[in-house]
Amino acid sequence: MFKAIQKRTSHSDAESKPKYVTLSIDQQSYQIPEGYSVTAAMLSIGHNSNRYSPISGKKRGPYCLMGVCFECVCQIDGIANRQGCMTIVASGMQIEHQQGGGYIQEATIIQETTIDETASINLTLEEPKNAL
């Protein structure tokens, strides 16, 4: 299991204690130091798997930690397929293991974000002009 390395500072109480954020991982509450990525948070509590493969259903865990492999994708605040290694923890964040490609219910969440109709009309009008 991944653990924080014990740092020996030159003057012991000079090192400011890290601040923590409270978040949930699979509905369980945890205190995680600020600045951790979601993947680092999961590894630090002993979860080295964050999703089930959409192909075989087998457990998968993080691999590259630098945003390339998309193995660490999980569901964050209701939105599936978010890269844990590229997302910094925040207070109140809800992190969950992802099943396959993510549930279809995520589509309704996307609808709730701010898309107004004029936006999509503008986009279709402007698009041809900007195309190569």
Binding site: K59, R60, C85, S120, N122, E127
Partner: protein, 472 residues
């Protein structure tokens, strides 16, 4: 607002480019996928500079090459209002590029784009490499730099300068390493001797490398040389429990719950390929590289490429290249004369040559074994996202599939969310040997924008296409 230049990536090349662009008076922005500048090599440099002041142990673990980035970072952070963090670029076209940040899409106009998006670790396809508990050695280092996490009793398997560096960092941190399975082929030591003469100009690097290996060997960690086959095993659960390895014809096994793999780094070419920049197969570095002139100008007039995203040269080389590329871009944009550029870059090229002279030695010494690049066991997963195995690729080829791009339709290889980054090289090399063509003739996947997954919400939020929304 139309910028002269947009730089993509804030590693050593991108930061050096930005500092030079500022000196030359260019109107520019620098987009970075990460939350802080530094790239992979100088990841979390800001915090670690501060921590290093009170903690000599951390300075010792991360080492002088890491802290060599402090000066560059300090100069970079003085630049006024140019850095945009968390910006994922997914499309570049003439005059404009598109990116997402925090769930919103943005477009930004630029005369010229400098791609400095760095490298990624070469795929290491072995049986069982998709098991939880198997990660890259690069990931071990990333977790060490931020937030200083490490795992006891891991097995490290592979080869290359970064491989030994990470192991030595673990050992300095007092983390017990269970075993080192070195896959450097013995023959490479003889082949590399031919390159030794030019490598002597980089004596500093040679001595550093020797010191690293000496330190690792002095640590009494189990060190096994000449490993030519690896396999990751699990029990009833999907979790790594053991690694088996072969030396000569003899196979042995070690129990472990954590395996770190590494066999070198290669340019991350997806963005450049999706932007139609010409690429070629480098037989020396066994990877695709963009076709560039000595300034980093690509086959697309509006795109230059620099740093390890162009060819692997390391942090110092990348810094020099980043600075050189921007001097030339200033000429392309009619900001300075060609003769001024030549004066400005003369010294940089002299320094760059030293880095370039040393590289063939490393390329030869750490050239990964054929069997670890082109897996032979039929059950080995090649494309991790779509779980395409060697057997599937062989079947497709025997059914008449001619190359990587067709292989997508035959098997879905390369069509998962990583968009071929993890399997592309393996597929190129494997297909080439199965179809008995050269890798150059076999080619690569055709990469198309968007090169990162983009949500409908991000697309829809591009509602003011002619306005740059500065999101820094």
């Amino acid at each position: 607002m139309r910028y002269d230049l947009v730089i993509i990536g804030a590693g050593p090349a991108g930061m050096a480019a930005a500092i030079n662009a500022h000196k030359l008076g260019l109107k520019f922005k620098i987009l970075d996928e990460q939350s802080q500048p530094g790239g992979q090599i100088y990841r979390n440099i800001e915090n670690n500079i501060n921590l290093g002041e009170t903690c000599n142990q951390l300075k010792d673990i991360l080492g002088t090459d890491y802290y060599a980035g402090s000066g560059l970072y300090n100069d970079f952070k003085e630049l006024p209002d140019v850095y945009i963090s968390g910006a994922v670029v997914w499309q570049v076209e003439a005059g404009r590029l598109y990116y997402s940040k925090a769930g919103k899409g943005y477009s930004i106009q630029a005369e010229h784009v400098l791609i400095a998006n760095g490298a990624l670790e070469r795929p290491f396809p072995i049986l069982g490499w998709t098991l939880p508990g198997v990660m890259t050695a690069g990931s071990a280092q990333i977790l060490l730099k931020n937030p200083a996490l490490a795992v006891e009793d891991a097995v490290f398997a592979g080869s290359g300068p970064l491989f030994y560096l990470i192991i030595s960092q673990y050992l300095k941190a007092g983390i017990k390493v269970k075993a080192i399975l070195d896959t450097t082929p013995t023959i490479n030591y003889f082949n590399a001797l031919k390159e030794l003469f030019s490598a002597l100009k980089g004596t500093g690097y040679l001595l550093k490398g020797l010191k690293l290996i000496r330190e690792i060997k002095a640590s009494d960690t189990l060190f096994i040389k000449g490993v030519n086959m690896l396999e990751a095993h699990c029990g009833t659960e999907d979790q790594l429990t053991a690694v088996s390895y072969t030396v000569g014809n003899k196979t042995s096994s070690i129990e472990t719950r954590q395996l770190f793999l590494h066999q070198g780094i290669v340019p991350n070419v997806n963005l450049a390929m999706a932007s139609n920049c010409q690429h070629f197969w480098s037989e020396k570095q066994l990877c695709w590289q963009p076709q560039l002139d000595k300034w980093g100008q690509s086959s697309q007039q509006h795109i230059s490429i620099t740093g390890d995203g162009s060819a692997i040269l390391g942090a110092i080389g990348s810094r020099l290249q980043g600075a050189i590329a921007v001097q030339n871009i200033a000429v392309v944009l009619n900001k300075i004369s060609a003769s001024q550029r030549d004066i400005n870059t003369h010294k940089l090229f002299v320094q760059l040559k030293r880095e370039q002279d040393f590289r063939p030695f490393l390329d030869t010494l750490y050239r990964p074994l054929d069997s670890l690049r082109k897996p032979v066991h039929k059950e080995t997963i090649v494309c991790r996202c779509e779980e395409v195995k060697v057997a599937d690729v062989e079947q497709a080829i025997s059914n008449g599939c001619m190359g990587p791009n067709q292989l997508k339709s035959f098997t879905r290889a390369g069509m998962g969310s990583c968009q071929g980054r993890q399997c592309g090289l393996t597929i190129s090399e494997l297909t080439a040997s199965l179809t008995k063509q050269s890798v150059a003739d076999t080619g690569y996947y055709r990469i198309r924008a968007p090169i990162k997954p983009v949500t409908l919400a991000e697309l829809a939020s591009l509602h003011q296409p002619n306005d740059v929304i500065d999101s820094s």
